[in-house]
Point group: C2
Chain length 332, copies 2
């Protein structure tokens, strides 16, 4: 095998087969993927969740992960946020001519490990190659299928006044780690929080109908996610700055760079809205599985203009909107 | 709205919402997509097919179609080739900074028309933006879910000696049309055959267990598809050059450019292997629905070395391998 990807690795012929047979099947193979048909035949419970994301992150290796790990986590977590158990994943590469085969191997190995951790099988895929100058090493798309959990019914329409807003851990780590890695900024110890959220989500799933909505605050950060919850609805959400966990290093980096942690992407956290009756129990359970910073950060309030309000450390109130200008492009 | 895509269209915030709410939902919206969750909840029959492809074709507008039409057809056709009825599609864009919003609108409109023709609903999606010089206008990934047709069981293991090889129409049109459009070669009338294959596949599905395997010969062309059928199996396939339908213009272009139509990509044809008992009836049915060039091009032969043999016009025999060097990169 050569050292770098050339155009003929994308022609569907011998070299495409080499990637599949020498790199993908040995690492990711299973009875469904190994059939190498135009798609995979799967048996499911019937009620399924379906989600897809493309990943264009740069650099594709970063502290705490790489584009392979991220592309599995991203779709796995979206399936969990739909109230489903992740089962099957598709994996599509867009490789740029000149991309190192060595790097592709590392990324595939990381995909293998993350898929195992998340309990998801890669069952179908695709590889395309674009000419130099029309990519950035590697882009990945994953699509996933999950089986819906009975008794979990999530949606904005189920949110009620006085429901509590839970955040499962500190925010901002993913975005800041990428920014530091990309720009060689700061001697940073900040790692991405990129992780499959199965364990955390299953802990919350146990509360059934008391769970109203789940979302992992990736692009746009926690503020954008909360704003999406209130949009078009007859309630607002008020959160308290002092309750929001942010690592000291992230606060430092944000202050230095003029960024707001509420708008920085996360890849391993959940925002959940739940009934007030179960919120303390959920926090207790989350801490028991190691989410030491899980907190109730606010609640749904009877203020009909669909706002997200931040009660600041100084006692004032600030209205949070969705992200507009983005100081951190391509963080997922 | 501005005239071109800027980085902030990919940040998951206000501008990403503009693409979704002003362009995608009005064209493609339905009760599932409009919920705009992290994924879609779907009810299926349980036994499903799952397939995904990325599309990096250039130019993204070409005679007979565009990247939008192709990205729907590609996955719809893969689902059909698995013996399933296409139901649900995900749609993920990777846009390059500077891409014309006008072109994105045209592509979305084409996606709408093709999805309607194929009877598939777009239920979830994603939009990413990469900086100038790291894309080529637009790349699209689609993933699809189909419901398996009862009584259809496809696979190489079901192929038997004397089974017939059916080709549903002329080959080479897609690849040659793209090459001519890209290089401004020839004053060509050749159009891509890009089309959803539902009607043709359903006609073949009627023959149930008599249908052994289906494949649409895209990248690598008909020769590569046939070689994939025999690989690792105890039979060979012999096809006859004179039975293979190729349009006159495609033959002309291939001769001029030194290309072999058997290795040129198609996006609207099926190669089927079927029992000899039903092969003539299938051809009759296919001609009845307008596949005037549908032909039996060869058969499975008792020659155990997994070869594809071409009986040439001059009576010789040539061994066909998979595509190796590709004179036509990025044709899908």
């Amino acid at each position: 095998m050569e050292n770098v990807i050339s155009m003929s690795y994308g022609n569907g012929g011998k070299k495409t087969s080499m990637i599949i047979e020498e790199m993908i099947i040995p690492a990711l193979g299973n009875d469904k993927l190994n059939l190498l048909g135009d798609g995979a035949l799967l048996r499911t419970s019937g009620e399924i969740a379906f989600s897809s994301d493309s990943f264009v992150i740069y650099p594709y290796f970063f502290p705490g992960g790489d584009i392979g790990k991220l592309s599995v986590c991203g779709t796995v977590n979206d399936l969990l946020m739909c109230g489903s158990i992740p089962k099957y994943l598709s994996l599509s590469f867009i490789l740029e001519e000149g991309f190192k085969i060595e790097d592709l191997k590392k990324i595939i190995s990381s995909i293998k490990n993350t898929a195992e951790e998340a309990g998801i099988q890669i069952v179908t895929g695709d590889t395309k190659v674009v000419d130099r100058g029309h990519g950035h090493g590697i882009y990945i798309n994953t699509a996933g299928i999950g089986e819906k959990v009975k008794g979990i019914n999530l949606g904005k329409k189920r949110i009620k006044i006085k429901d509590k807003v839970i955040l499962t851990g500190s925010i901002g780590n993913h975005g800041i780690s990428i920014l530091c890695a990309r720009e060689n900024l700061l001697e940073s110890k900040i790692k991405s929080d990129c992780a499959p959220l199965n364990k955390i989500a299953y802990t919350i799933f146990k509360y059934g109908e008391e769970v109203k909505i789940l979302r992992d605050p990736t692009r746009g950060g926690a503020a954008t996610t909360l704003k999406e919850f209130v949009e078009g609805e007859n309630f607002s959400i008020e959160i308290e700055e002092e309750k929001i966990p942010v690592d000291r290093e992230v606060i430092g980096a944000c202050e230095l760079l003029g960024l707001d942690p509420l708008y920085i992407a996360n890849e391993g956290k959940i925002i959940a809205i739940v009934s007030p009756e179960v919120s303390d129990d959920i926090i207790k359970d989350l801490r028991n599985i190691g989410c030491n910073e899980a907190s109730i950060i606010g609640e749904v309030v009877d203020y009909t203009s669909s706002k997200v309000l931040l009660k600041t450390l100084f006692g004032g109130r600030r209205i949070l909107d969705k992200i507009t200008y983005d100081l951190l492009p391509r963080i997922c």
